[in-house]
């Protein structure tokens, strides 16, 4: 074995020396043989001739010897590669088309893989034994349905830790958005509040200082120490080493910096990388002091590492027993049914949320898009297979000749596969480039910034691209190889350069139909998503989004008297409204898709139980409210300065609410009451257009609006929340508003500002994403299908030159020729459209839930796609068809 290898390697690397030796050896033999004949009396020349005859063909023997040396594997490969490379270079157009096609296909898949991998498979960085680390979920029956929760109480975490034996480590973590710094410097940042045991889950070492220990994480209030995230250390401290021992205001307390986490360390989270890590007891202890005794404040997530040798089932059983015991312990505090009644149990599931019971819609959409990307790749493969096949058919004579000359079929197939592999590898390189530069937008949609790392440095993505490339080379090489195997040597050689009649290849037809059908499918998908996106976009939310800035004041643990708070709120509105470029400002208590206030169903005299009509949401604002957010009044009047505490209580209600409560009467002038029976009735003074603040689709929402002054009089104090309407895009005014309003905030209290769109846009994201991806991939598939059709028709024309020459010579008109050639292409197109549409009709049911107010069977979309594909097919067919008319019968007939 060893000699064999050494021999082969030597043969491989010292080829020139080996060749020389072989030459010497054979020459020696022939010389000795010649000498022999000379001794027998022959002339030198005759002796040499006889010696050569006795020896046999020197070149063939050299070949055989080389083969038997066992280097043929490398030799033939490099020979094939050089042969393939020459072939590809001689046809740059063909090669570019194939490489681009494969590059796009592979690139799309590689980019998508990076995302799917991150969301579903890849464990968090630095995690030790990721297959044994779990996120703990608890489940129980509540109001007739099973509830699964990952947000637990501190007490529960303690119980599940001390009453289980299946785990060698448990940890608690709560990822929060907390203010870091004070005054002008204060910014809300993601902060990980974690138990001291959490760091033990990772093999991460601090780049500076140390991590905190379980001893610093203690009840009731942990040590005020902070480990900086690598990013914050760089951005705020410039990566300086003297940061240790510095004080940093995190949350509601001053913390001492004790260490810096390594780059890429985030703990376990799907959200933004934390700027800092603090003990979980330090965070909770600054909020209240009872969190470690009570069972009714759930705010943290629990992670556990299973002991080696303990099965997941055993761990689940163990956890469930502990959870039931903990549930019984809770019953000493809260009135609850027994653990058995609620069927309490607990689960150790994968740490990735997308793989747990609470997986969001993102993973579903990503899976869909991955499927679409695979289809695009298949279409690309079909295309390339078709092109290669066409080439193989063109090279029929060459192949037949080589077979006749004794090249084995195996060798021939090897050569064809080498060619497709070379193409696939070039395509793979192009694909990586596509994924690297074109995939950034994609990753930004789904991943947090730190995860959107370069494709080219990620081993898993590269490996995936490699695997895809290999598959592609087999898929595309198979058809031509099979074709080569089937060919009949004598037949092909006899046929000459032309074949008497044009033969349809079933494989080629099949590939073409496949491409056409799937392009139609993707384009219909694209059409549906585009329509659904435009539905979302054109949906009137009932308020303006683009120009609105939302500013939220945070007291950060400071206490204000009611008067102080209300005065501060008023001052914030005044300052905001006085800011240049701001048209008006209002206080607000509800923020669409963020935090909405509900105070139960109102009471209306003479109307029974409004509750069963639906949910009623409450908004309160300054007199400038409607003007600021752009909600139109349908009838009646809005609030004025006169609607204050002490004046007659008034309310504006939404149109749907008015119709639901007073279907036959005018709602204006009617009265309603909220809260306790002692509250005064409010008179309805206006009807506002409907708004959507909770869900973008579904039932109409019921909203009613109070003047902020009367709201405060009834419910205490206002939040320090302000909507400001900018004369332009909100994004341009966020920072100036934040700075000006921050200046008004006393002590450590602070404001944060964001465009309202930041809350609304995520609701439209899945539609946006679906539309973008389907349009991109559908367009790609269409281009590929057009190239495929074009190449096949062009090839057919080339094949039939002779036949066409005969026809034209016999008097066929140019129209006849065009009709004949184009007719064939368009038949393919129509068949592809039909098949694709049928699949789309069937597949529509799966995609409809992802669409917004859009039926999957939309005739407009189906017809447009059919027309589009038909037109593209026509263009792809026309050029070769026109070329067919230029066939010169005399030339065509004389050739060959």
């Amino acid at each position: 074995m060893f000699t064999d290898l050494r021999f082969r390697l030597r043969a491989l690397f010292r080829r020139d020396a080996m060749e020389q030796e072989l030459d010497d050896e054979l020459r020696f033999h022939i010389e000795r043989e010649t000498d022999k004949y000379v001794r027998e009396g022959l002339s030198r020349a005759e002796a040499e001739r006889r010696a050569r005859v006795a020896f046999g063909g020197v070149d063939r023997i050299k070949d055989d010897t080389r083969d038997s040396r066992g280097i043929s594997m490398f030799d033939t490969l490099s020979q094939d590669l050089r042969y393939a490379w020459r072939g590809l270079r001689s046809k740059p157009g063909f090669t570019t088309a194939v490489v681009l096609t494969l590059g796009l296909g592979i690139g799309a898949n590689t980019a998508m893989f990076g995302i799917v991998d991150r969301l579903l498979f890849r464990p968090p960085a630095y995690l030790i034994a990721p297959d044994r680390v779990h996120r703990v979920y608890v489940a129980y029956m509540w109001e007739g349905a099973e509830r699964t929760e990952r947000t637990l109480e501190y007490t529960r975490f303690v119980d599940l830790t001390r009453w289980t034996t299946s785990f060698d480590r448990t940890a608690a973590a709560a990822y929060r958005s907390l203010p870091v710094g004070t005054g002008e410097d204060a910014r809300e940042m993601p902060v990980a509040t974690i138990s001291g045991s959490f760091f033990d889950f990772f093999e991460a070492r601090p780049v500076l200082g140390r991590f905190f220990t379980p001893e610093e994480d203690h009840v009731p209030r942990g040590s005020a120490v902070v480990v900086l995230g690598y990013g914050l250390w760089q951005s705020r401290y410039g990566g300086r080493a003297d940061v240790l021992g510095k004080s940093l205001y995190v949350g509601n307390a001053i913390h001492t910096v004790i260490g810096v986490a390594p780059i890429g360390f985030v703990g376990i989270t799907d959200e933004s990388a934390p700027a800092a890590f603090i003990p979980i007891t330090s965070f909770a202890g600054s909020r209240n002091t009872w969190y470690f005794q009570n069972y009714n404040w759930s705010w943290l997530e629990m992670f556990a590492r299973r002991k080696a040798g303990v099965s997941v089932e055993a761990a689940n059983a163990d956890l469930s027993v502990a959870f039931r015991r903990s549930w019984e312990a809770q019953r000493a505090q809260d009135r609850l049914p027994t653990a058995t009644e609620v069927r309490a149990h607990a689960l150790a599931d994968p740490v990735q949320l997308s793989r747990g019971p609470e997986a969001g819609p993102d993973s579903r959409i990503v899976t869909w898009v991955m499927g679409v990307a695979v289809i695009v790749l298949l279409v690309a493969c079909a295309n390339v297979a078709n092109l290669l096949l066409t080439r193989a058919v063109n090279r029929r004579r060459e192949i037949a000749l080589r077979l006749a000359l004794g090249v084995t079929r195996r060798r021939l197939v090897q050569q064809l596969l080498t060619e497709s592999m070379l193409l696939a590898i070039l395509g793979g390189v192009a694909g990586l480039a596509t994924a690297q530069w074109g995939g950034n937008a994609l990753r930004a949609l789904f991943l947090r910034a730190e995860d959107a790392r370069a494709v080219l440095t990620d081993f898993r993505t590269i490996a995936f691209a490699g695997a895809v490339t290999l598959t592609v080379s087999l898929l595309t090489g198979l058809a031509p190889a099979l074709h080569a195997l089937r060919g009949d040597v004598a037949e092909s050689l006899k046929a000459g350069a032309r074949e008497g009649t044009y033969r349809r290849s079933r494989i080629r037809t099949g590939l073409l139909l496949f491409q056409g059908a799937f392009s139609v499918l993707l384009l219909i998908g694209a059409g549906l998503f585009v329509r659904s996106l435009s539905n979302v976009r054109s949906l009137r939310l009932g308020y303006d989004v683009e120009p609105i800035v939302y500013v939220e004041g945070q007291k950060r643990g400071m206490s204000f008297s009611r008067t102080e708070a209300n005065a501060l709120a008023e001052r914030l509105v005044e300052v905001a409204a006085a800011t240049p470029g701001i048209e008006s400002a209002t206080l607000t208590i509800s923020v669409p898709f963020w935090s909405n206030e509900g105070r139960g169903a109102p009471f209306v005299p003479g109307v029974d139980s409004l509750r069963k009509l639906g949910r009623f949401m409450l908004q309160a604002g300054s007199p400038a409210y409607f003007r600021t957010v752009g909600t139109r009044l349908v009838r009646g009047r809005e609030f004025t300065e006169a609607d204050r505490d002490g004046s007659a209580p008034v309310v504006v209600i939404s149109e749907s609410m008015a119709k639901a409560i007073w279907p036959t009467k005018d709602a204006i002038g009617q009265v309603m009451r909220i809260g306790s029976d002692t509250n005064p009735f409010m008179t309805i003074i206006g009807i506002a257009e409907d708004i959507r603040g909770r869900q973008i689709a579904g039932e109409r929402e019921f909203w009613y609006y109070l003047p902020i002054a009367q709201y405060i009089a009834r419910f205490g104090e206002a939040d320090l929340n302000v909507f400001a309407r900018a004369n332009g895009r909100a994004e341009d005014y966020v920072e100036v508003l934040r700075r000006r309003l921050q200046a008004e905030m006393p002590g450590v209290s602070y404001v944060k500002a964001s465009p309202l769109n930041a809350f609304v846009a995520p609701r439209q994201r899945s539609w946006q994403f679906g539309a973008t991806m389907f349009v991109a991939f559908g367009g790609l598939a269409l281009v590929l299908a057009a190239i495929g059709l074009y190449s096949v028709i062009a090839y057919a024309v080339a094949q039939r030159t002779h036949e066409l020459g005969v026809r034209i010579a016999l008097g066929a008109s140019l129209g006849d020729v065009v009709r004949m050639i184009a007719g064939q292409g368009l038949t393919f197109a129509v068949a592809g459209i039909a098949i694709g549409s049928i699949i789309a009709l069937w597949a529509g049911q799966f995609i409809e839930p992802l669409l917004f107010d859009q039926k999957a069977k939309d005739p407009l979309v189906f017809v447009s796609v059919a027309v589009l594909l038909f037109v593209v097919a026509m263009i792809a067919t026309l050029r070769p068809a026109l070329r067919a008319t230029r066939v010169d019968p005399t030339v065509a007939l004389r050739s060959d």
Binding site: T3, L22, F28, H29, F55, T65
Partner: protein, 109 residues
């Protein structure tokens, strides 16, 4: 030419090993020896020797060394290795068994 035989498949290796069991030789000498010893009965194209020699060398049954030939020219000498010796014994035994068996069947009355 009717008294010359084509070599049965696979026996060339055996003959080469046997020829080398008498001592190191270069290719031409092996060819001559086989020619003489078989009394010119075996039809071995001289060139076909070399692929076989290189194959045997790769398999580790013989090894090669460049040396000076009797008329003082550089020649490549082959010699049997220990593994080659064993292989020769095994193949000889197998050959004997085969020919005996074939002979028995052919003599069947």
């Amino acid at each position: 030419m009717t008294d010359r035989l084509d070599l049965p498949q696979g026996t060339l290796d055996l003959l080469i090993l046997k020829a080398l069991s008498l001592g190191p030789q270069h290719g031409w000498a092996i060819s001559e020896r086989l020619h003489l010893v078989s009394r010119a009965t075996l039809q071995i194209p001289q060139g076909s020797l070399y692929p076989a020699l290189h194959r045997l060398e790769r398999q580790g049954w013989i090894r090669a060394e460049w040396g000076a030939s009797d008329n003082n020219r550089r020649a490549k000498y082959y010699e049997l290795t220990r593994a080659g010796q064993k292989q020769l014994e095994a193949e000889t035994a197998a050959w004997d068994k085969l020919t005996t068996a074939v002979a028995l069947v052919l003599k069947m009355a």
